[in-house]
Amino acid sequence: MQLTQKRNIAGAIAMASCSLINPSAQATDLNDIVKSDDWKVDAAIMYYGEQDRVQAAEVIGNVQKSFGDSSLLDMKLVVDSLTGASASGAVAQDSSQTFTRPSGNGEYTVNAGETPLDDTFHDTRVQLSANWMEVLNPDWTLNVGLNGSTEFDYLSLGLNAGLERSFNKNNTIVALSGAFTQDTIDAVGGRPVALSEMALRSQYDTEAAFQAAFDDTRQAGTDDKQTIDLMLGVTQNINRYWLMQANYGISNVSGYMTDPYKVLSQVDNSGTTQTYLYENRPEDRLKHSVFVMAKGALDSGVVDFSYRYSTDDWDISSHTLETHYRYYLSPSIYAQIHLRYYQQQAANFYQPFLLADEPLPEFASADYRIGDMTAYTVGLKFGQRLSGGHELSYRLEYYQQNPENNGTELVGQLSQFEQFPAVKAIVAQVSYSF
């Protein structure tokens, strides 16, 4: 009670001082002033589980604190934990296959006919970000931010800034933003030498001989990667119910983009694996994206539709279609459907395997994530508005990736097995806002 009185007094003083500067502020409701200095907290816990593969749990918290009408601090903390198996890039074979773990300590074996999955992954990531928004005047708004993310083998540090200008009675907003990110990769076991052969314990008589061979495939120290992003966006109110957003983004990445844990099988003409080679990707990538979205306020809900086209100089291009439709079952309860379709064209150096009698290319990766692929998501969300402006929501989604052959002829025994298996995942999430 005491607290409420103090806040009301603070609000009254704030309103009085505002009225000295701007007489029109007298119309402002006292409660609005108190409310504008409040904290807003959004928190969620999410489970992501792939069938027989990666399992991840993620906790996310976002805190917003406004300072008067012109400043807003936004802070986010994400902690996630990942475990399970991930496709190594090797092909399925008619006999079991044994691989050296990325650390060089130990091996794992994959049964005949199965897609090789590396089950080594256990990692915890912590990400922190802070953004400051300042309304400079009725037309201009400035955003600046910092973010950092760390996990066992990866560190990412970034800066971003953006400027927004509103026109046309605030019906048109043009935003220009940029970011710089510096990533450091400290691969477990060291970064593999590009396209070097995986040393296998069974090929060596002694542990020392194997270790020496393994070390020959590794480079000492860390490597890094720099990303510069620029984005130009326009948000336009169309009429009383609809708005549109259009963004153009360009991103230049330079540095280490190889996945140090991915390999390619090198096979003979019968499709039988001779050896495994560590992948190698180019050190420069220039990406462009165009994103358009329409969002509409309906009497009983909200709907949005978006399309994104993305292309880059690795020749990966993609089309993404997405929609959310929310329907209010009552003033305080809503149900929402989420649909997403994604289609991707492979990178020019993607190859599901290498042929032993052909010369090695400069770059090669069998990572299905940069191969031809379609994917879709179907999701359902229920939300409940509680008293005091709190909201509780539940989300359940199904995500399926269907990797496809990029036109490579599957020689010999390779055609007997599913070399491009679907990846099926469930996302379950509970969120609370107050």
Partner: protein
């Protein structure tokens, strides 16, 4: 010479498209007192920012392209 002409035509075409777009924008929109629906909390572009952040992280980790809606940045060594 021909190339210069083509370049000039492309630039002129782009300028016309942009100017037409901007002048079209100035006729779109509503008066300040008609913004009740657009001002609804569920109409904010970041009304589900946690869902979007979580989705972006999943798709960033599992697909070859990312971003578009907002700045993509660097990120993580995701598997």
């Amino acid at each position: 010479m021909k190339n210069n002409l083509i370049r000039f035509n492309i630039k002129a075409g782009l300028a016309i498209v942009i100017l037409t777009g901007l002048s079209a924008c100035s006729t779109l929109g509503v008066e300040p007192w008609e913004k009740d629906q657009l001002a609804r909390a569920d109409m904010a572009l970041d009304s589900e920012k946690l869902d979007m952040a979580l989705d972006d992280h999943i798709y960033f980790s599992k697909e070859g392209t990312s971003g578009g809606r907002s700045l993509a940045g660097g990120g993580c060594g995701c598997n």
